[in-house]
Subunit: 508 residues, 2 copies
């Protein structure tokens, strides 16, 4: 890989900044490694020790970022005369962003939060097993308390929730998010009602045959090769909750899961994570061990997984290429099926209790529900114990279905057990970024559909790499989306995209 | 598991000591985790980043142990009035042992050594591939230089090599080792000549049939269950070089390897590592996150693997129980074989170029060769580039075989590429400890042979757990072997053991 990003001059201050970043990133990578192991291969009895180890590494990162060296660097950055080098400017911006956060948090908070998280994850698992939100209530309450404390430490000008949102999506606020989400909600509910009328137009029973698991993995490996995910610098494993983690652009790991009741699970979980994985592998190696070795934001990261999962591989063209492969892996099982049939089946719109099983249209309603709950929790407008009822009522309002128990409702996601308030909105932001980028790809890659229909996916990866991946977080998400599309983040391209697709499938 | 070890009083000094130990151990465990991953699942392209991460964690441990807090604790320990509590005394001894080592080494040395190691591992791999020691020479020379520097930093009274030996086997010196090794060498060469006369008495061709790998793993899993290795608190994986690592008594991981040319490889590599694994799982949990959460010494650790690998499972009794299992896993492949046949086949004595494939008798000659070379290197009596010739000449002198190339000779072991001078002798020390303990087990467990012949192995594990494992490194190896056997470490029990076995197999 080429080294794109250099500096006009490596001043002593820049050198010190990069040295400290390298120290922090090495520890951060070690910590991520421990988390990866916890989700994949760690023996069940090792939870307590692992939590000690991860907390230790988090505390050390915090100590580095609040050391006298860090203070001195921060002061010099704040009072320097900028030399106009954009890479240096970005690096200093990224340093100050993390420094400003870390100095506001006392070490005791880092430890308290890390410990509260360990406890809450266990009680969430227990509550899920019993399907009783009640068992999770106390520990979730403690996490909420700590997150409120964190928001107060960090500060905000308008809404307390902004302090948390900003950590996942730099610059994002409730004031910016609310109107976009409101518009999305209104339009989604309209479209959803319309689909309901034509719902018999799509059948997808043939996706629920008993497809053997070796075949699922084989199919996914073929796709990953076409996407040019590099296994010399990465891995694919299985885990209960698929995820992606990177310890450097040369060590990127994704996980997937096989489902012998529905082949769509494995295909799209894998492609989703591969999309994240390509982003991480595509970050320019000159950014390794700097704070720019990261996605521009969680929303932007999500856009990369969703582009692959939804726009590219839930297209009719994709099945022109891939259906024959599936048919050869599973002789006789899909012999009467045409690309159009499977294209429709992977795009079926149907209300679901579970976010992860939701279709492209109703998915955003799941996110908006969580966003509303989090915003209310953070601002004292909803109590933790009221979550399940609120959740269930809103599910009926949005989707016309009422969760039969808490596991199918408010206990389904792992995020809150990690204290991850502010994370959920990035999924829908990812859809919005993704649709904007997809629109631009269509303009700039003239034979896009043809490429996909031949399984020739590497030009797409290349385009995304050039436009997005290589920069890591050197550019802000605002700069990035403006550079690519010429526009500010907005929900209209997604609404256009989904309406076109639904017309094609349901209203034609 | 019960918590055996408590203290008369948890003084503020003891509390501070334990707190610092916990911090160091968490980082040490994280670092071990990264090494485990490197040997099992890490993508090949990730070497550079992994080396950065491990170095970072090593530096942090060193910083903790040389912090003002560590200095202050060390000073208070040195000037305290002992309260007679043996556990407190041990804990302070262990703290001082590590402190005294770490303060003598500058941080630059830790970094230099860590970097030199990364480079040397790669050039060792390259040299092995080309089978040219020459490619490894320069980097091995650099490691030797650093190890000499380390010995000088640490200090020694007699032989420079003692400073390195002591790190693996506390209290061990060349002066103590040499006479035992000399005696072992003389007797081994005598026995080896005698075996040569009767070598046709044993046939082992039937162990080299094509045993499918699932069966090998299945057989080993059955043994591991009988040995009571706990998979709730551990794992078994495959790797090129089998090893054991523990991140706490509740997370102990062994690896093994399958060999479809000889079933003995997998069986005994697994049992060897399981022996190490049982030691780690058996350390009392009250010692978790202290410096006593470790083996008493590398030699003592090795004794536990060798007891299981050689004494217990290379016995005739073991095959009374296990041969029928093997026969049922591989129908028809071992139908004419009796327990005595397989007992002989797994004990066949035959000169081998490769240490790891050596039998119980000639194995020690491989170790003595390495010990002699290391001792000469450290004391300037042999140059790095002279190693291959010296090695080959000695192999002919000891075993009558001359390595055809460097990969079969001086490049075969990974140890030197890690700078692990002083490690090899612990293998033979393990045999000596092991035979002493085996003698005592025979006295104290009256129905030992009967238990083994029924596959009832857990009483053996229990005995070892009570006598050895639970203590971790709370007792020194000298205290431990004296407590168990009433004697000081010596080579005679091993010589008795091996002579008896060879009589049974070859000279009867």
């Amino acid at each position: 890989m080429e080294r794109y990003f250099t500096y006009t001059e490596k001043s002593p201050l820049l050198k010190r900044t990069l040295d400290l970043m390298a120290k922090v990133k090495d520890i951060e990578s070690a910590s991520s490694m421990l988390s990866w192991d916890q989700e994949t291969y760690m023996p069940p009895g090792a939870v307590e020790a692992r939590s000690h180890q991860i907390t230790a590494l988090e505390v050390i990162q915090h100590q580095f970022m609040t050391s006298t060296e860090a203070h001195d660097i921060a002061e010099k950055i704040s009072t320097r005369i900028p030399n106009g080098d954009p890479n240096e400017t970005s690096m200093f911006r990224l340093f100050m962003r993390r420094y400003n956060r870390d100095v506001k948090l006392p070490q005791s908070f880092i430890e308290d939060f890390s410990n509260a998280k360990t406890v809450a994850i266990e009680s969430w698992k227990h509550a899920r097993k019993e399907s009783r939100f009640y068992h999770f209530e106390k520990d979730l309450g403690r996490l909420l308390e700590l997150k409120i404390q964190e928001a107060e430490y960090l500060g905000y000008s308008d809404n307390r929730y902004d302090a948390l949102l900003d950590q996942y999506e730099p610059g994002m606020t409730v004031a910016k998010l609310q109107p976009m989400f409101d518009h999305l909600k209104t339009k989604t509910l309209e479209l959803f009602k319309k689909v309901d009328i034509y719902k018999d137009k799509v059948t997808d029973g043939f996706m629920k045959q008993k497809f053997h698991s070796e075949g699922q993995i084989k199919f996914v490996k073929i796709i990953s090769e076409k996407m040019a995910f590099d296994l010399y610098y990465g891995r694919m494993d299985e885990s209960v909750h698929p995820f992606t983690v990177a310890f450097s652009p040369k060590d990127v790991r994704i996980t997937t899961r096989v489902n012998d009741k529905d082949i769509r699970t494995c295909i799209y979980a894998s492609i989703h994570e591969l999309g994240h994985g390509l982003y991480e592998q595509g970050i320019d190696y000159s950014l390794y061990r700097t704070f720019a070795n990261d996605g521009a934001s969680f929303g932007m990261h999500e856009s990369q997984s969703l582009l692959w999962e939804n726009m590219i591989t839930r297209s009719r063209e994709f099945f022109v290429w891939s259906l024959p492969i599936l048919q050869s892996i599973y002789p006789g099982m899909l012999s009467d099926i045409y690309p159009t049939d499977i294209y429709k089946a992977v795009n079926v719109v149907r209300p679901s209790f579970i976010r992860l099983e939701a279709d492209e249209l109703t998915y955003n309603l799941h996110i908006i529900l969580r966003f509303e709950i989090e915003n209310m929790l953070l601002n004292g407008q909803l109590k933790v114990k009221e979550i399940p009822d609120y959740w269930n009522v809103k599910m009926r309002e949005f989707l016309g279905i009422y969760p039969p128990n808490d596991t199918m409702g408010a206990l389904q996601d792992i995020h809150w057990s990690h204290g991850g308030f502010g994370y959920f909105p990035t999924y829908t932001l990812g859809k919005m970024y993704g649709a904007m980028i997809w629109e631009t790809m269509h303009k700039e890659i003239s034979n896009l559909g043809e490429l996909i229909s031949k399984g020739n996916l590497s030009p797409l990866r290349h385009w995304l790499g050039e436009k997005i991946h290589r920069y890591g977080s050197l550019l802000t998400p605002q700069e990035l989306i403006k550079n690519i599309t010429g526009s500010e983040l907005n929900e209209q391209p997604f609404l256009n995209y989904i309406e076109t697709k639904l017309k094609d499938i349901y209203f034609n």
